[in-house]
């Protein structure tokens, strides 16, 4: 591929625009979705059907005073929200939106995405510690142990996908799934992989809900117990950046799930593949994230860790062994 400056600039602007629009309007989607599940209306006053609401919220957040309490670690306190946004936007550089739309198709893009996810985890830890607030420290500690525990089954299930596709390049993985939904990794009708792939999908989906700190796994920002968790001391745009970082993490998680398991930009019947199918898939997955959040209560921290260490890891290890055995046999 050419490496002209125009191409780089176009992708830069495009990804920033995509990230910005998603971060803002996903808030609108969440509020409307939650409202309809609860049989209320949600935002409806600001603009048609409340679509200007995210702009109003952004304006409000920017006009508030950025309070830095006394006694916090000055540099880390200011850096933590920015650090929460960086991995999410950077991850979008390697995601293949379509056969020809993708900023950089690297050979090790899966590894890059997981490395960047760990940086997001550090942002939570720094934000909680630098606040100097006891609630924040408790929530940061919970967040770190949760993220650590759920990265392991996530990696194990992604290894099964890599074994089947034969490469760590996200674009290659998506290319091997073209041609209709029976080729998608979640179904994988050849070589008997259909026995194990749906388990991988479910485990990966649960882990991505836990990695992005969404309910029912939102121990780090448990609203009713710890006021606002690690975000307690942040006002104005610091809080805004954490929220946007969380929504962008959800988008990246959905993109990853769609690429690894649902065939990327492929149409279910193999007719007209294109970027629009990719977008439809990620928005259906994002709606599922919202749906799950507003249905279940929160788990308890030790139950959460039990779920990961005692249920998800044994299942994903067994899954990996069976997949490897099937590849060897067939």
């Amino acid at each position: 591929m050419e490496t002209s400056m125009w191409r780089a600039l176009l992708y830069l602007v495009g990804i920033m625009a995509f990230a910005g629009v998603n971060a803002a309007w996903l808030g609108w989607c969440e509020r409307k979705g939650a409202a309809r599940i609860q049989r209320r209306i949600g935002p409806c006053e600001a603009g048609f059907a409340g679509l200007m609401q995210p702009l109003a919220d952004g304006l409000k957040l920017m006009s508030k005073q950025l309070l830095v309490p006394q006694g916090v670690d000055g540099i880390i306190f200011r850096v933590a929200p920015v650090l929460a946004m960086i991995p999410a936007i950077t991850s979008m550089a390697v995601i293949p939106f379509s056969e020809n739309i993708g900023a950089r198709a690297m050979e090790l893009s899966v590894l890059l995405l997981f490395a960047l996810a760990s940086i997001g985890m550090i942002a939570i830890l720094l934000g909680g510690w630098a606040s100097g607030n006891k609630y924040a420290i408790i929530s940061a500690a919970r967040g770190v142990s949760q993220n650590l525990a759920y990265e392991i089954p996530m990696l194990l299930t992604v290894i099964t996908v890599v074994l089947i596709s034969g490469s760590m390049n996200l674009r290659e993985i998506a290319l091997t799934q073209q041609g209709g939904f029976w080729h998608w990794n979640i179904f994988r009708l050849e070589n008997g992989h259909f026995l194990t792939m749906w388990i991988s999908f479910i485990i990966f989906f649960i882990c991505s809900v836990a990695e992005t700190n969404r309910a029912p796994f939102d121990m780090a920002e448990a609203e009713s117990e710890l006021v606002a968790g690690f975000m307690t001391e942040y006002g104005s745009m610091g809080f805004g950046l954490f929220m946007m970082g969380e929504y962008l993490n959800i988008v990246v998680g959905a993109c990853l799930t769609a690429t690894l398991f649902l065939g990327g930009w492929d149409c279910p019947f193999g007719l007209t593949p294109g970027v629009w199918w990719f977008l439809i898939k990620i928005y259906i997955l994002i709606f599922t994230f919202i749906w799950i959040r507003w249905t279940y209560p929160r788990t308890q921290i030790y139950r959460l860790l039990n779920l990961s260490w005692k249920i998800l890891i044994p299942f994903s290890l067994a899954n990996l062994l069976v997949t490897a055995a099937l590849i060897k046999v067939f």
Partner: protein, 372 residues
């Protein structure tokens, strides 16, 4: 979950579950000494909303205390109205006509269902499930609309008087109540039990949390669903009956496990039993006046009087001292939530913070009732 017993001073920190906190319902301050996530010592600090209701009783006449009764426990205000009416009727020897007694029972039981619905909503909100709040409030809104038809108020009712009730009920109220009971019975299995009670996340969250033994309940004087969840079969409506409760056929749910799940199930079953009582009362409702003969200026004989009613939170006692004048000499209220809260200090030791909050939610606290 056990916690090491001997901790140095610098190994623990003090966390204030401050007067302003989303999970303490009202202004309650709990000083928690914590070791990481474990609670080593819990000390509730009260008094942030003490408004001297008992002193206000001494300043005005007997009937002027009715607005105060509703403002103490605003979730089950009609039971507090009922309790005050009962103790003064006992002191002054006032007779209440039968229709008024039936209306009192119907409205008190409707209010009990509303209180339990709000408890359910707030408990789940503490645990992180935001949707059941809206479903419960949909039903609660119907109850409040019904009660507004006859009492004129939505939350702080000043509906009962000595000798009966203020207004009579009409046919629309009766039809509306029957519709409401049918509607709630239809929604209960799906929206309340399938969505929440059988949910594995909720079960794991409240089963075996906050074990309260029957002996602890006796020591602290806990009553109501807290005691009935630990195996103590005591309900004032059955054990020391008042008003027309002996004429109704209802059960008192008792569970023996003593954990938060048991208290949860006691309240859910109590809602069903309240609906049974209301149906029977509507079927048997007699005609007649709704206000008995009561003197305009009430001067009961001097003496000590006590009477107790069963509110949604436990046994509420009124101890009235009269000296023959037209003001009460002294009134003391035995608040059920005060005794329930005192369990918290002992039981919460060694628990995780989130478990301690789940336990507090299952105790159903209304702080203005504790502080009066």
């Amino acid at each position: 979950m056990t916690v090491p017993v001997h901790l140095r001073q610098d190994e623990t920190f003090v966390l204030n579950l401050g007067p302003q906190h989303p999970a303490t319902h009202g202004v309650l301050r709990v000083k928690l000494t914590m070791d990481g996530e474990y609670v080593v010592k819990a000390e509730p600090v009260l008094g942030y909303i003490h408004r001297m209701h008992e002193k206000m009783a001494e300043e005005g006449t007997f009937v002027q205390f009715f607005p105060n009764t509703a403002r103490m426990d605003y979730l089950h205000a009609l039971a507090f109205n009922h309790g005050w009416a009962l103790v003064v009727e006992k002191a002054a020897g006032i007779e209440v006509p039968e229709r008024a007694e039936y209306i009192r029972v119907i409205t008190v039981e409707l209010n009990r269902i509303a209180s339990h619905l709000l408890w359910w909503a707030a408990f789940l909100l503490d645990l992180g499930g935001f949707t059941p709040l809206l479903y419960a409030f949909d039903d609660r809104e119907k109850i409040i609309d019904l009660l507004e038809r006859i009492t004129g108020s939505r939350l702080t009712y000043s509906y009962m008087r000595f000798g009966g009730v203020y207004n009579d009920i009409d046919d629309e109220f009766i039809a509306g109540t029957r519709d409401f009971i049918k509607r709630l019975r239809g929604r209960m299995p799906r929206l309340y039990h399938d969505l929440v009670t059988h949910n594995i996340i909720l079960i794991k969250r409240i089963k075996d949390i906050g074990l309260v033994s029957a002996e602890q309940c006796r020591r602290y004087g806990a009553t109501g669903p807290v005691a009935r969840g630990s195996g103590i079969n005591y309900d004032i409506r059955k054990n020391e009956p008042y008003s027309v409760y002996p004429e109704f056929d209802f059960e008192v749910p008792v569970f023996n496990e003593g954990d938060s799940m048991a208290r949860y199930m006691v309240r859910m079953h109590e809602m069903e039993q309240s609906m049974r009582i209301i149906e029977q009362a509507l079927d048997k409702l007699p005609g007649g006046p709704v206000m008995g003969k009561a003197p305009k200026v009430l001067k009961p004989e001097a003496g000590y009087y006590y009477s107790a009613v069963e509110t949604a939170r436990g046994s509420l006692g009124h101890r009235l001292v009269c000296d023959g004048g037209k003001n009460p000499y002294k009134l003391k209220l035995r608040s059920p939530t005060f005794c329930n809260l005192s369990l918290f200090g002992e039981v919460a030791e060694g628990m995780l913070l989130a478990d301690a909050l789940a336990f507090m939610g299952s105790l159903d606290l209304v702080i203005p009732e504790i502080d009066r």
